[in-house]
């Protein structure tokens, strides 16, 4: 899927200081029956966000209007469990463009990169600094600079660098997807397939 290029993002952030947030929490399986990729944002964190009678749970962060922004900050091992890309779609559809954590599960991270959500892995210490900054000022802003591979806390200037492989970085900066690239490799793939039995 082609998506909007990602370059630099300056935004406040929504804190979710819980560890091992799995993709069943991000989007429960009963909402995976759609056959298109839009609309999942309404059910992002469904069971943490709503009571059984569909009224919002007052103590959940997405229901607190003080917290806004395009950056979601989660505890370590964010996105574990099921490979459902619907989890990344839900994050994107809700309006987030960047997820920050001290550790990501592998498939979730890949899924994010494939749809234009930037996963930013920071040190546990810097993650704690981010949570503290939001706690002291919910409107605190952060700057995610993809070309420089750096995220900073605007109020203090404190910053942390992050890794991304060069190929994926170029894709994110330009909104490219892998399929365009792979289709350009067709001849090589055909040759490989021809000598590879079923």
């Amino acid at each position: 899927m082609a998506y909007e290029p990602f370059n630099t993002l300056k935004s406040s952030a929504v804190p979710l200081p819980i560890e091992n947030v799995d993709t069943d929490q991000i989007i429960p399986a009963r909402f995976l029956k759609a056959t298109e990729r839009t609309g999942f944002g309404d059910n992002l964190f469904r069971d943490w966000r709503y009571n059984n009678d569909n009224t919002p749970k007052a103590d959940f962060v997405l229901n607190n209007p003080i917290y806004q922004g395009k950056i979601l900050v989660g505890g370590k091992n964010f996105g574990s469990g099921s490979s459902r890309e619907h989890a990344a779609w839900a994050v994107y559809d809700y309006g987030f463009r960047c997820v920050v954590s001290s550790f990501f599960a592998d498939i979730f991270k890949n899924n994010c990169l494939n749809i234009g959500v930037l996963p930013v892995q920071v040190t546990p210490e810097f993650l704690a600094e981010i949570f503290a900054a939001i706690e002291s000022n919910p409107q605190a802003t952060f700057t995610v600079d993809l070309p420089a591979q750096k995220i900073s806390i605007d109020s203090s200037g404190s910053a942390c660098s992050f890794d991304i492989n060069g190929y994926k970085k170029n894709n994110m900066l330009n909104g490219f997807d892998d399929i365009d690239f792979l289709i350009s490799q067709s001849q090589q793939i055909d040759a490989f397939a021809a000598q590879s039995p079923l």
């Binding site: 799995d22 069943d24 929490q25 029956k33 069971d47 550790f103 599960a105 494939n114 399929i179």
Partner: protein, 464 residues
């Protein structure tokens, strides 16, 4: 240069390496199900392209199917639509399709091996994290997202950086009543749910050599629960015997030729791993989980750890115990059980039902327990009947449902009610995984059977 099993299979499938980027990896076989594929097929349509190698692509319906009355139309309109989409997409692209009611239908990771789609040395992907199951055959098999499903449908390739390597050795042998599921839950409890993230695991040592193919599938299946993309076991005679004669496996001379190659698939003696763990198989007890991720497991006779004994993460830990309504220090033995689920790609194979039968035989289901016995495929269901296990189950007060993923992820009607406790042979005990508010205790088929007949958490060794 000395290579690991993983290196050998990976390197044989690299079409192209990108500098400072991923490898373009050729995928031999791609399995597709109804939940993670519709948007991928839609992508193909929008690009105006077709599935590149339909003969390497196999579709089955499993996640979102009912497990009773499969001969009737699916009631939920959204589920019915998703199933119809899979059928239509498979037909449009000439992909073999084993839909609801088809004799080859079943859970994707159960039918793959049953029909010889799963082969040693192959690369196998599916839009499902438990694709790691197929690593039991010495294949590189891993779960992918829908964007990647679209990549494989359109180009038969995927772009992946080569993961780091890990070997997990289990020495010694297993005690009576200790199953492959316990081995896997034990490893995850030692490594945590993120302990193998970024790695591809090889399982090695006498416990795995002795293990049946079905047991190996259970262990490899759970690799993702410690964060690993996949796990694999070097193929041996047991593997070749299992594969031989299956529908989509090579035949005659082709099989002999393939076997010569498969016999070279093992980690060279000098090969090194980025990380290596060794555990003593004799120390493993029947396991059970007490929290809301698969790493929160312990030997069935043990007590729930105290928060103060943990290395950080106390708030998350307390939230988890709060959800389960368990207390630090509680014993697991004796906890009341409301539901028992045996099935899933983890433990829905014939050996699992044999194990379940070994305990329920001559006993009765506890009155207050609701039990769902869901075979992984029609072939499994057929064996259950042919081997006389169904008679044992019915005698003990159990009924058998029809194949599917069922209560493992509760996408269909098979949901554990809020607040109820389920001993489940599936793979995830996340909050709400088996239904909103449901509380899951992951365990082996033996532990599930012991709970089903006693109505509480019971050490199966006392009933064997």
């Amino acid at each position: 240069m000395a290579k690991t099993l993983f290196d050998k299979v990976w390197d044989a499938h690299v079409v192209h390496s990108i500098e400072n980027g991923p490898d373009v990896l050729f995928i031999d076989r791609h399995m597709v199900h109804e939940v993670t594929s519709p948007v991928a097929f839609l992508g193909l349509k929008q690009r105006g392209i077709r599935v590149k190698f339909p003969e390497r692509t196999f579709a089955t319906a499993d996640h979102n199917t009912p497990t009773i009355n499969q001969h009737l139309p699916v009631e939920d309109p959204l589920s019915a639509n998703q199933l119809a989409m899979l059928e239509q997409n498979a037909r449009e692209h000439g992909i073999s399709y084993w839909g609801l009611g088809h004799q080859k239908n079943g859970i994707v990771h159960v039918v793959g091996p049953e029909y010889g789609i799963t082969l040693p040395g192959a690369t196998i992907v599916c839009g499902d994290s438990h694709t790691s199951t197929h690593g039991a055959f010495g294949a590189i098999a891993f779960g992918i997202g829908t964007s990647e499903v679209e990549m494989v449908l359109s180009t038969q390739c995927i772009m992946q950086p080569k993961p780091k390597s890990m070997r997990i050795n289990i020495t010694g042998s297993l005690q009576k009543g200790v199953t492959p599921k316990d081995v896997a839950l034990y490893i995850i409890s030692q490594l945590s749910t993120s302990g193998a993230t970024g790695y591809f695991v090889e399982y090695a040592g006498p416990v795995f050599s002795e293990m049946s193919m079905e047991g190996r599938m259970t262990v490899c299946n759970l690799s993702i629960e410690m964060g690993a993309r996949g796990g694999m076991i070097a193929p041996d005679q047991k593997t070749f015997d299992y594969v031989s004669g299956r529908e989509f496996a090579p035949k005659g001379q082709d099989f002999d030729k393939a076997m010569n190659y498969w016999s070279t698939l093992y980690s060279d003696e000098q090969a090194s791993f980025d990380k290596e763990y060794t555990f003593d198989g004799n120390q493993i007890e029947p396991m059970i989980t007490y929290g809301t991720n698969p790493g929160m497991g312990l030997g069935i006779s043990q007590h729930i750890p105290l928060a103060q004994s943990l290395d950080g993460g106390v708030a998350t830990y307390k939230k988890s115990l709060g959800y389960m309504d368990f207390n630090e220090g509680d014993a697991m033995l004796g906890k009341k059980v409301d539901y028992v689920f045996i099935g899933s790609c983890t433990n829905g194979r014939i050996e699992d039902f044999r194990a379940f039968a070994s305990i329920v035989k001559g006993r009765k289901k506890a009155d207050h327990v609701t039990a769902w016995l869901v075979p992984g495929s029609h072939l499994v269901a057929q064996s259950i009947k042919e081997e006389g296990l169904l008679d044992i189950f019915e005698e003990a007060g159990f009924t058998l449902r029809e194949p599917g993923c069922s209560a493992c992820l509760a996408m269909n009607e098979d949901k554990i009610p809020a607040g109820k406790y389920a001993v489940s042979t599936s793979n995830r005990n996340f909050e709400g995984r088996q239904g909103p508010g449901a509380r899951t205790l992951l365990a082996s088929p033996l532990v599930a059977a012991a709970a089903a007949v006693t109505g509480h958490v019971t050490d199966p060794r006392t009933l064997l």
